[in-house]
């Protein structure tokens, strides 16, 4: 009995040591990253390539959720949760809702596809954007520098309510103005009030 057990231990440990020696843990972690990145990028491509505009909107949601998963992968779970709640929840629902309200009889070809020249233009713009983003991300310190916030939520809260309190308040006022504007657009305002 003990011989069998020690034999199993020997095999399991041997396999594990071998896997570690060829760098399997890093490979798996990198694989997860590339899987999520691929889902994000492919669904972002789907947004522009899908024929049905409802499918495009759903692909956009998938892309948002992919970005949220990437945040969580990079130990920024608070940012990930914000991404899920704001983009995956609210923004995506509003976009799908808006599309539903502009319903047309044939949804299958509602996302207009352009000619070859337009596609070429889009490809060039996308390539230039990728290049710029690559250079910026290579040159910026964000690439290597980890956050010094300590506990993520506390760190963000401290920074937001002390050092960056003015931008925070400005954003709040901006959102308030947008909200009032939306209400006026929806409800209308009588000329007598002005």
């Amino acid at each position: 009995m003990t011989d069998v057990l020690s034999f199993i231990h020997f095999i399991v440990n041997g396999v594990m040591d071998f896997l570690v020696s060829i760098g399997a843990p890093d490979l798996i972690m990198a694989g997860i990253f590339y899987l999520m990145a691929a889902v994000t990028v492919l669904s972002a491509l789907g947004v522009v390539l899908m024929r049905n505009v409802v499918h495009s909107a759903l692909m956009l949601t998938a892309s948002f959720i992919g970005v949220g998963c990437l945040y969580i992968y990079m130990n920024a779970s608070f940012m990930g949760a914000v991404q899920f709640l704001v983009y995956g929840g609210a923004v995506a629902v509003l976009i799908v809702m808006a599309i539903m309200l502009t319903r047309r009889p044939d949804m299958a070809h509602s996302n207009p596809s352009r000619g070859a020249l337009h596609q070429l233009g889009a490809a060039i713009v996308a390539a230039v954007f990728c290049l710029v983003m690559l250079i910026v991300s290579m040159a910026s310190p964000f690439r290597t520098e980890a956050s010094h916030l300590g506990d993520e939520v506390k760190g963000i809260a401290d920074l937001m309510l002390t050092e960056y309190v003015l931008p925070f308040e400005v954003a709040a006022v901006l959102l308030l103005i947008a909200m009032i504007g939306a209400i006026i657009l929806a409800k209308g305002v009588s000329e007598n009030d002005a």
């Binding site: 057990l5 499918h55 608070f78 990930g80 929840g89 799908v96 939520v153």
Partner: protein, 345 residues
Amino acid sequence: METGIVMTVANLIRGILMLILGNEFIVSVIMKLIGIGAMIGVISFAAILFTYTERKVCAFIQVRLGPNRVGPRGLLQPIADMLKLMSKEDIIPYGVDRVVWALAPMVLFVPSALAYAFFPFDDGAIFADVNVGIFLLIAISSQSVLTFLMAGVASNSKYGMIGAMRAVATSLSYEAPMVFSLLGIVMITGSLRMSDIVAAQQNTVWFIVLQPIAFLIYLTTCFAETNRTPFDFVECESEIVAGAFTEYSGMRWALFFLAEYANLLSISVLTTTFFLGGWSGPILPGFVWFWLKTIFMLMIFLWIRWTFPRVRIDQMMSFGWKVLLPLALVNVLFTGVGIYINRFM
């Protein structure tokens, strides 16, 4: 504090696996898989049990007998239902958006099941005790509204469409009061971690005593969140057939119900965790306390579900925006003042 039953069992399994395999890492991976399996088991078992419980409780409230033909006291009814649903023909209506339509019931189950990763079932028995637990939980469960939209839009039917629109309207007007009602708890605890929330109630009193208004707001929003009467606008069978699930039948329809019962259990668990002290309690082990409180909450949810009539959708919307949200905000304000005063006492 000794560790709870669940952790004792988990450590026992871990010890046995360690004896056989003898590698720390492999054993921890297998333990995670066992944890996932256990949660799926809890969800499936709960869904089977709840179909029976719901019908029996409903029958009791309506002075009927309920299921009583299949097996002793109708106990085998869920199995008969399951066999019936599985043997049904898979009908795909004409004109549906095939892929989205087929994906919707499957995707709906994902956020419902993912939420179980954050439940503290017992002392230390929590699958993912992350530092933003409660926030991530809300974020993940808010995703489920999109699947109702998918189902409703892809069904290509007017009832599905109305159901989907109502799902969005409900979730938009009830998500905000729900989050703000939980903010008071987070302020008192000073942490977003689920285990900290339970620990904070263990040392002092249950949060239902400190946050009675938040408890009522949360309870109300829960019905909207899980689409149950008095706020079941997504399906309300007497108005729009079955709303977003009108065009589904057989196992696809059963998946919607599986998710609904998973959500029902999950709101009971969450109310227990946030307001009734989670697994903490005297004498009895934590695991038992946890399930006692959860079943108590479940019975309250069933009681309200079968006692109250459905309100009109516009009444529900104005109630959400004009009553619940201001009330939740005032609650946050008073909680803040209370914490501030408490600090100087």
